[in-house]
Symmetry: D2
Subunit: 372 residues, 4 copies
Amino acid sequence: MENIKVGVLGATGAVGQKFIALLQHHPYFRVHELVASERSAGKPYRDAVSWVQSSPLPGPVGETYIKSTAEPLESTILFSGLDSSIAGELEERYAAAGHVVISNSKNHRMDRDVPLVIPEINADHLKMIEHQPYPGALVTNPNCSTIFLAMALAPLHRAFGVEAVQVSTMQAISGAGYPGLSATDIMGNVIPHISGEEEKLETETLKILGARNGDRVLPADISIGAQCTRVAVIDGHTETLSVKLASRPELAEVRAALEDFRGYPQEAALPSAPQQALWVFDDPNRPQPARDLMIEGGMSTLIGRLRSCPVFDVRMVVLGHNTIRGAAGAAILNAEALVAMGYLTGGCFSKEPHRRDACVETPAAAEPVAGR
Amino acid sequence: MENIKVGVLGATGAVGQKFIALLQHHPYFRVHELVASERSAGKPYRDAVSWVQSSPLPGPVGETYIKSTAEPLESTILFSGLDSSIAGELEERYAAAGHVVISNSKNHRMDRDVPLVIPEINADHLKMIEHQPYPGALVTNPNCSTIFLAMALAPLHRAFGVEAVQVSTMQAISGAGYPGLSATDIMGNVIPHISGEEEKLETETLKILGARNGDRVLPADISIGAQCTRVAVIDGHTETLSVKLASRPELAEVRAALEDFRGYPQEAALPSAPQQALWVFDDPNRPQPARDLMIEGGMSTLIGRLRSCPVFDVRMVVLGHNTIRGAAGAAILNAEALVAMGYLTGGCFSKEPHRRDACVETPAAAEPVAGR
Amino acid sequence: MENIKVGVLGATGAVGQKFIALLQHHPYFRVHELVASERSAGKPYRDAVSWVQSSPLPGPVGETYIKSTAEPLESTILFSGLDSSIAGELEERYAAAGHVVISNSKNHRMDRDVPLVIPEINADHLKMIEHQPYPGALVTNPNCSTIFLAMALAPLHRAFGVEAVQVSTMQAISGAGYPGLSATDIMGNVIPHISGEEEKLETETLKILGARNGDRVLPADISIGAQCTRVAVIDGHTETLSVKLASRPELAEVRAALEDFRGYPQEAALPSAPQQALWVFDDPNRPQPARDLMIEGGMSTLIGRLRSCPVFDVRMVVLGHNTIRGAAGAAILNAEALVAMGYLTGGCFSKEPHRRDACVETPAAAEPVAGR
Amino acid sequence: MENIKVGVLGATGAVGQKFIALLQHHPYFRVHELVASERSAGKPYRDAVSWVQSSPLPGPVGETYIKSTAEPLESTILFSGLDSSIAGELEERYAAAGHVVISNSKNHRMDRDVPLVIPEINADHLKMIEHQPYPGALVTNPNCSTIFLAMALAPLHRAFGVEAVQVSTMQAISGAGYPGLSATDIMGNVIPHISGEEEKLETETLKILGARNGDRVLPADISIGAQCTRVAVIDGHTETLSVKLASRPELAEVRAALEDFRGYPQEAALPSAPQQALWVFDDPNRPQPARDLMIEGGMSTLIGRLRSCPVFDVRMVVLGHNTIRGAAGAAILNAEALVAMGYLTGGCFSKEPHRRDACVETPAAAEPVAGR
């Protein structure tokens, strides 16, 4: 059993908290370091965080002293929930210092040499790290609502070819972080805009569904139109999809493609993988965020109302847990895939799978990270 | 100034209440009779209703004794908020007895000889009543979410030709009537299905945008795909639209077509008509149900986020007040149009406009309505 | 390990569902029979229930065929979530037929010979069943909001004597059952009245805190004034208390009395017992229903803002999970106490503890319950 | 008709916005100046404000350029919605410069020479301004929840003597300003603490109900215990009260005292005065914030569930609109009272009522306010 030291970047934020909550009983990742802003650095985590998770703050984590972004770190893997205003430069710096940065931030997702991965779909894109110009590595997961869209499209694209998609989202307030939205703004309301969200759905999906050619990804050729709204839901992004296919399958074939969908996490039995990647509901009133979100620990993507479409070919409703499968859980699954692929054999990082002798040195033992 | 006696069918229900609230200060419609189920009949309205409007119950209405559906009625116009389980037969019976039935119920909307009217769009369809087989008349308004869709499409269809639409709705709980949804089911939730709603959007819209040929309507040739959900909003249906056009206008032309849209209610200055039929917002965060719904008394249709679409041509968000412009207010506007067109000259109904001498007799003076 | 057959009365209702959810992994109670109204009888449970629990319906329970209230039952223990309109007569009938009825319904709580029990406080009241006039037994738990009030008062009454209490509640919608409240009525609202609730707080509390004298309870001499409201919360009743004490303890002594409070469930290590019966929070913003309710599986009573009172002696906020500790979980804890006290040795019921030979016969083997 | 120039201090905040909305059609106050922080100063109001009122921003106000707190002002009356972090010093400075400062901020409410006024109760306290050490004046209104408590207690105190009160509040999110609470914190939740709120209820009420002796107020001798919580309501503070009286009136006498309550605003027919200061509901389910709040434009105090109390004498539920009667409307009513009492005859301020010749000079014509 591996025992790998991990750090959490942006540890006091909503995503950072979710990393800590989800890693609490992880079979081989150990939360070793917490990194936050200067304001929090030097304090015990318990005193710096406004803990808003439903599970209690794990005791030992609460006692951990927070490090600043200027200090050298010791962890092999760094899970990043850094704010996008600072993630761009910092994540590269950590990768340059030899860390494996697994980021949920948006900054590097579309970088040419950075894999953007949902391991059920494109685990092979992780191999791009072998070509990255750092001693460490930098891996990203997509935007939350993009993950559920891509999960629903992937089996259809493989089986029938997706040509065009119209997607309209109803996104939960937790997607805006904490404190996030003012209650005055969202209670009993719908806000018809989420800044930058539609662009992410329209571009990230193409990279995820694209084909890797060595160190590059050729984006998929799909036309995507996204419309994103915020609704008064705590957790869970709901999306209505209408999909135009290249071939003309029966609905039963579409359903079978969705239900049978499995990928590397299921094959490699990754600890955080859902057994059933996609759940298809028959009850037309499901799935619902307040009822169905925690199926398989929040790691499955839930599909309902599969039916034909008068304009395109098939329609459906897709729902997923935005802070678990859509954020922290997605990053953890990516890290588990790296472990299973042999990049972290013996708890150290090597770009040559299963070659412990080719590991980068423990980062903090090497040159310290340059101060800011 | 006209002074026309009106009755409200289904007076204790949510739509019936809204009729009463909106008619309170009407310049020429006077609430004269209230009709409800056997259970309520014979009681003063105040004792039978669970009044859930934000304005107080008008005193004289509260003292009015409720009539049963078996009793003959005296009012020229009957506004119907009857439940669809009984509206089908009863509305025909009242039209046969000489009443002008202005219905918000779904039963007769798609009947071949019944006009389905939004007077900004197809006021001329009202002339179909001249061919109806009753001494009275039967006029319907569309389903709530259909009204806002049709209002947004009508100017585009006229100017550029609409070929296809994808619409996804987020509908308020008041659309389900009262008591309607259980709080347990909808608080902090999204329900991904509203029974029968998508079919209404996909069929009613075509009739409204269709061309009248004497006593018939040729439906518009538009492909519509609708996906309807319920969200935790009190009033106001929000819809995301993606529209495929026959021609390729600039966005500025689309916007001008929307903002310049006006029809019979504006030309004839009907009392309930909004001055600006369509409002176009620049702020990408608007319109919002909790903020903007009462613009022009809830009778305008609000449009935001007008922009081009990667899949079709233009995208936008549409919002309207579902119980005012989408229900009771829509029916009242239809009745006002009939008055302005001369069908109710002198307060009596004639199929020949402005011909008081051709009026049907006051219904209750004629043969009584057959008991049930 | 005991293995006791239990039935659930009112199985399709909200309380019945919670019984089923909580009993799913119980160490010795096995759900054997489900009883519901004529309308549901004869159907598999899955087809008759509108399952609104957050955990999925346990498979075997879903396949169980529902019995009517007219059929004889086989279970030793019957957990009753019957509607109060029928619970009165039916529960007595089942007790007369030899069943141990553990009821959450209000009907018999204040009956002179029926114990009203919170086992941390008055487990000895359970001995009253030895004097009941049935071959079986009838045990009740208090109203949900009463349970949290009594739990907070019990240690204070023991240590310092409680003379008077003012309590004001903010109760969750799940307390009204399912479908319960209309969303139109409660979203963004406070309803200042819950029918019958204040009377329950003011009377049941006195019986629970009273002293048993053989087969009778002498109510406690405390003056209680309750004001109950409904708020837009899914689960969790919050109560503000102001308490007048006979003696004048320091706040630290009050706190110690609360934190040290334990009773029979903790001593006997009952399976559903919280380890810490009362949790006292220091953070003035806690406890909160949306954050803290599931501490110890929803079986603890949570206390915050302990401070002195300008009018009485001490003030505090009390919170508890109304459908777990306040309903189904309370009944299950009562049944576990009966088992631990020896009334169900070997899975059959005897009024003489630990005397299997004195058991009543298996009810269904005896005379069938009279049909309705 | 008077025509008095008024300024709004803290104009972009939630209270400042409400001042602007309420003053839009005022018969004699004209919004002449808007004052906000350095960040907003120099901009048109429309560009600086995030307008969250349900009525649209009045056009001319939107075009008004915001002044900084360092600039001299021209308005006779300044309505202050300043943040308490700066209100203390600034309000005194403006009074020293000759302005009549009508403040909703907490800073000076309990100052010995500052009147804390609800004009129905203690309009005579306004005369304290004659003794203030400024050329201008400084008048405050109470905290929002205090206003409703004091309004309910005042007639009881006059008629029967109030000895003690227990009050528990359920306060709306708008009371926390804008952006105020995070949606994550309050949706579906109750927060059992509002910082400083209980102290205000317990002290301000005594000053309001106290007797003025020249330039001083002798606080009322009432024991008050308050417990304050925040609930998921947009507008409207609900309070449960239990009141101990010196005499023992019948409930009907208590009710009559409440319903008959009127004071200076009603006698002087102030423009913002409710005709009925206190509304008493018979329906036990009323008043409700989502239904009843806008009675008399949000200026009445609403009372329900009047009944006897097992611990004290009478109990009731009290509700009021926290941002209208509880804040901006309260301040405007105070200003209207000053006008009616003759302190602003001819639109200029004089400490000698009805003596225009004794007016202070127009402030801005005098020495400029000292820069910060």
